[in-house]
């Protein structure tokens, strides 16, 4: 797009490379994910993860020198939207893996990057998990109870983390813990815990309402020895909280992309239905009530996508992205829930049958206002910076 006036040059078009990336994800998804997407309980999870690993898409932000694609966040959001449009659960696995890797990419030392990031890349790639929420205090850092007590060799980790996405399939777990029970938030550190470490126990995998492909569970850490080399910024007391907030601000943009993918899938399904379902001798899309609903859905999805793109654009440029990211997550998750419900309305009773795409998308969308900080938290983040 040419400059029209003034100095500001905005460009909403995708690069050739980004278009090719989208096409390659679409093509793989059509053959290897879509046919199994409605079969829940993770039966086909392993095959889908292998398909993603073959394209090195499990954690595309990992820099090339550590085996990743080295994608910027904008391009990564495009990938997440495509995956969410065919399998929200699979996209959630990817988003959680990206979240777990982000503190390492942002602030890990060379050794930590060499040891942990390659686990998420290449044909043998696996997922990773990010563990913050706790059974009692949720994600309130003022009352975090998981504690890492310093000992001669590093830290001894004790505590319980709940609702951890990728519990049981993660190669490693990025754990947030306090190192001083009086300072709590000010003493937070981020620990990299191999899944096989002694004392790590998956206590329960939940039967969730949506995103069923992604295992969500509770993990207990009992006297887990963490060597100093597995602590991010181990020598800089006070670094954990700021690193954590930055990780969330990045993650929110990706959850926003996930929401856009879910909403898009709902619109496509409803549109297809409306073009083929006849009533009074014409497709129901010809009825104004339905066509207006479709128009509203498309408009809201465009809003959500543009907000997602802006947040990612700011992140990639090192701009001030905290508010943009929170706004994108707040808006997109709300829109995804509205759009999936509107799509279910258009499809009538068909949208209420267990095992249909719309019924699944309505359940998948529900989680979006909870993960990566509830929508009330997003409002707090936004209002604090007004």
């Amino acid at each position: 797009m040419e400059k029209v006036r003034g100095e500001l040059k905005l460009d909403f078009s995708l690069t050739k490379k980004q278009q090719e990336l989208i096409e390659s994800v679409k093509s793989m998804a059509a053959q290897e994910i879509t046919p199994f997407a409605l079969q829940e309980e993770g039966i086909h999870r392993e095959k889908m993860l292998i398909s993603l690993a073959r394209m090195n898409l499990l954690c595309p932000t990992v820099p090339k020198e550590f085996g990743g694609l080295g994608l910027d966040l904008f391009s990564t959001a495009l990938v997440v939207e495509e995956l969410a449009a065919v399998s929200p659960g699979l996209a959630a696995i990817v988003a959680a893996t990206l979240h777990a890797a982000e503190p390492i990419i942002l602030a890990g030392n060379e050794q930590q990057k060499k040891e942990f990031l390659p686990l998420l890349t290449g044909a043998q790639a696996g997922a990773a998990a990010f563990a913050l929420t706790e059974p009692e205090g949720g994600s309130d850092l003022n009352i975090i109870s998981t504690q890492a007590a310093a000992d001669h060799n590093g830290y001894l980790l004790n505590g319980c983390k709940d609702y951890v996405i990728n519990a049981g399939i993660a190669r490693f777990i990025t754990v947030v813990a306090a190192t001083d029970m009086f300072k709590k938030k000010a003493s937070l550190r981020i620990f990299l815990v191999p899944h096989h470490a002694a004392g790590v126990k998956i206590e329960e995998i939940y039967h969730t309402s949506g995103i069923n492909l992604a295992p969500v569970g509770r993990i207990r850490f009992a006297d887990v020895n963490i060597v100093g080399e597995h602590v991010i910024k181990s020598r800089e007391a006070g670094s954990g909280y700021l690193l954590l907030t930055q990780t969330f601000d990045v993650g929110r943009a990706l959850v926003s992309a996930l929401a856009v993918g879910i909403a898009r899938a709902a619109l496509e399904e409803a549109l297809n239905f409306a073009e083929n379902r006849l009533q009074s001798g014409v497709p129901i899309k010809k009825h104004q009530a339905v066509s207006f609903a479709l128009a509203d859905m498309a408009t809201r999805i465009e809003m959500a996508r543009l907000m997602t793109w802006k947040a990612c654009w700011l992140i990639d440029r090192g701009g001030d992205y905290s508010v943009a990211s929170a706004m994108a997550k707040l808006a997109s998750s709300t829109i995804a829930q509205e759009v999936t419900c509107l799509a279910a309305d258009i499809m009538g009773a068909r949208g209420y049958i267990k095992g249909t795409l719309i019924e699944q998308l309505v359940r998948d969308a529900r989680v979006l206002s909870t993960i990566e900080g509830t929508n009330h938290i997003q409002r707090m983040v936004i209002s604090s910076q007004l």
């Binding site: 709590k184 000010a186 700021l242 001030d320």
Partner: protein, 118 residues
């Protein structure tokens, strides 16, 4: 707690160093308005930015984030007893559930002894 608390610490350290907002902003590579928002807590600081400020202002990172501590738990003071109490609680954090039970049994024994052993 809030980023406002961190901002107030930045302002205090800046003034202690005798720097204007404009001077500090130039030294850490941000605009004066951005720094002003950091100090007011109206803009989120990330680790790399605070690390730069800490370096310029000759303060450890901990100085700025210590203000994030909740005001509700008891804060350690300079008294020896409090320091020992903090150390004890941190040591307890390293123990297993069974070991904590042992410690509790010992504390119960001490209380029993203090009450005259009846």
């Amino acid at each position: 707690m809030s980023f406002r608390d961190i901002g107030m610490k930045i302002q205090a350290a800046r003034e202690e160093k005798g720097l204007s907002q404009e001077q500090l902003a130039r030294l850490v590579g941000c605009s004066q308005s951005a720094l002003s928002n950091y100090e007011k807590g109206k803009r989120r600081l990330y680790l790399s930015q605070l690390e730069k400020m800490a370096e310029v202002l000759d303060k450890p990172l901990e100085y700025f984030v210590d203000s994030l501590s909740s005001s509700h738990p008891p804060q350690p003071t300079s008294s020896d007893r409090d320091e020992r109490f903090v150390k004890l609680v941190n040591l307890l954090g390293r123990l297993s559930d069974e070991e904590i039970n042992e410690v509790m049994r010992y504390i119960e024994y001490l209380e029993w002894k203090r009450s005259g052993g009846s």
